[in-house]
């Protein structure tokens, strides 16, 4: 997902959580970003700061990158995703739709494209804290 679209989704989600939890002000938002999606953190942070609503204008957004780990369903091999081995076009495809990784990456041991993304895919809100 594009960083701006991603930031919009985060802001929308934080807003919903704040309303559901009855928070008058959001103070802290913890976000986890999977390495597979190759999100540009600078752009994401900038987009988040631009899109912040009044209710959480003073909130601190902390972003943690999670390493991408893949597990072959055929032979059980576990390995890490490496952006450096990809050409620009492939990296961009995986950036937009991380599942296209199954078109481009194979198990380094048996060559199967049937692997599981154990961690490091997508973006998650770990916690939203604030004042009621």
């Amino acid at each position: 997902m594009h960083e701006w679209a991603l930031a919009e989704a985060i802001i929308s989600s934080v807003s919903q959580i704040a309303e559901k939890e009855g928070l008058k002000e959001v103070r802290e938002v913890k976000i986890k970003v999977g390495e597979l999606q190759q999100v540009e953190l600078d752009i994401l942070e900038f987009a988040l700061s631009e899109l912040k609503m009044a209710k959480f204008k003073n909130a601190k957004f902390s972003i943690e990158t999670v390493k991408a780990e893949l597990l072959c369903r055929v032979c059980g091999q576990k390995w890490s995703f490496s952006r450096n081995k990809l050409d620009m076009e492939t990296a961009e495809a995986i950036h937009f739709v991380p599942e296209t990784v199954h078109a481009y990456i194979k198990c380094p041991r048996c060559g199967s494209p049937d692997f599981e993304i154990l961690q490091g895919r997508g973006v998650w809100l770990e916690s939203v804290k604030g004042v009621k």
């Binding site: 997902m1 679209a5 991603l6 989704a9 989600s13 078109a103 998650w124």
Partner: protein, 249 residues
């Protein structure tokens, strides 16, 4: 841990008046052909139309339309490519001609990703070409896309229609609106589909002939729209008064 993407999907589609999933129980009944031709027909009637190929593992609308390179642009999200008057998104723009083997959870993730990131803008119709059956993509669409309606494609074959009955049963259980059923590849008189659909209280929209010229027209939209298949589909479509605001409400 909360996935924030689903919260933005409604906003992404707020300017789309009607979302129509072209679906069926089995592969090979002509869903992609009906979806593509329907989208082109509506676009030629000056409606603003999007076509979203949601059959990630076996996409084919790009072949029907003859799209060589329809890469979406990146501008605060995914901006669909413009092809033949349609806003168009297919995973092929990213997976190219490579096989894309996906399990159910991957299909859900890719679907959510694309719905969350794609900025369709103002549309009268978004036509969604569905994979066959009642698995992940169908369940996700029903769960995530408010106001979606289904257009069902079958062939005269009892085998195809038997699977359609299961799809229709699911949609009825979940109270998802069905615009109607189209019978494709009709070669001889048979009332199996029309009778069963009508008995189920659903609109039978009509039949489309088995037209060998369709194969010859693949990749050429002008030739496609001149086939008997496309003319008959246009006739079915033209029976419906076109005001997407209320027609599909």
């Amino acid at each position: 841990m909360i996935d924030p993407r689903e919260t933005i999907i409604g906003k992404r589609l707020e300017k789309v008046k009607s979302i129509i999933a072209v679906s069926g129980g089995k592969g090979g009944v002509g869903k992609s052909l009906v979806a593509s031709t329907l989208a082109l027909t509506l676009a030629r009637k000056n409606f603003k139309v999007g076509l979203f190929d949601l059959d990630f593992t076996s996409p084919s609308t790009h072949l029907i339309l003859g799209v060589k390179d329809a890469k979406p642009k990146e501008e605060k999200g995914i901006i669909p490519a413009e092809v033949y008057g349609l806003k168009y998104v297919s995973v092929v723009a990213y997976s190219k001609e490579k096989p894309l083997p996906l399990r159910g959870a991957d299909i859900s993730n890719a679907l959510i990703e694309l719905f969350a990131a794609t900025i369709w803008g103002d549309l009268d119709f978004l036509i969604v070409d569905m994979p066959p059956g009642i698995s992940d993509a169908t369940l996700d669409l029903i769960r995530l896309i408010k106001g979606i309606k289904f257009l069902i494609v079958t062939t005269p074959s009892p085998l195809a229609f038997e699977t359609v009955k299961k799809l229709l049963g699911l949609l009825a259980e979940l109270k998802v609106p069905v615009l109607g059923v189209v019978e494709n590849m009709k070669m001889r008189k048979s009332a199996l589909v029309s009778r069963n659909v009508t008995c189920a209280g659903l609109p039978f929209l009509g039949d489309l002939p088995f037209d060998p010229k369709v194969e010859e027209s693949l990749g050429n939209v002008d030739a496609l729209l001149k086939t008997d298949f496309a003319k008959k589909l246009a006739a079915i479509v033209s029976k419906i008064p076109f005001n997407p605001n209320w027609l599909f409400s």
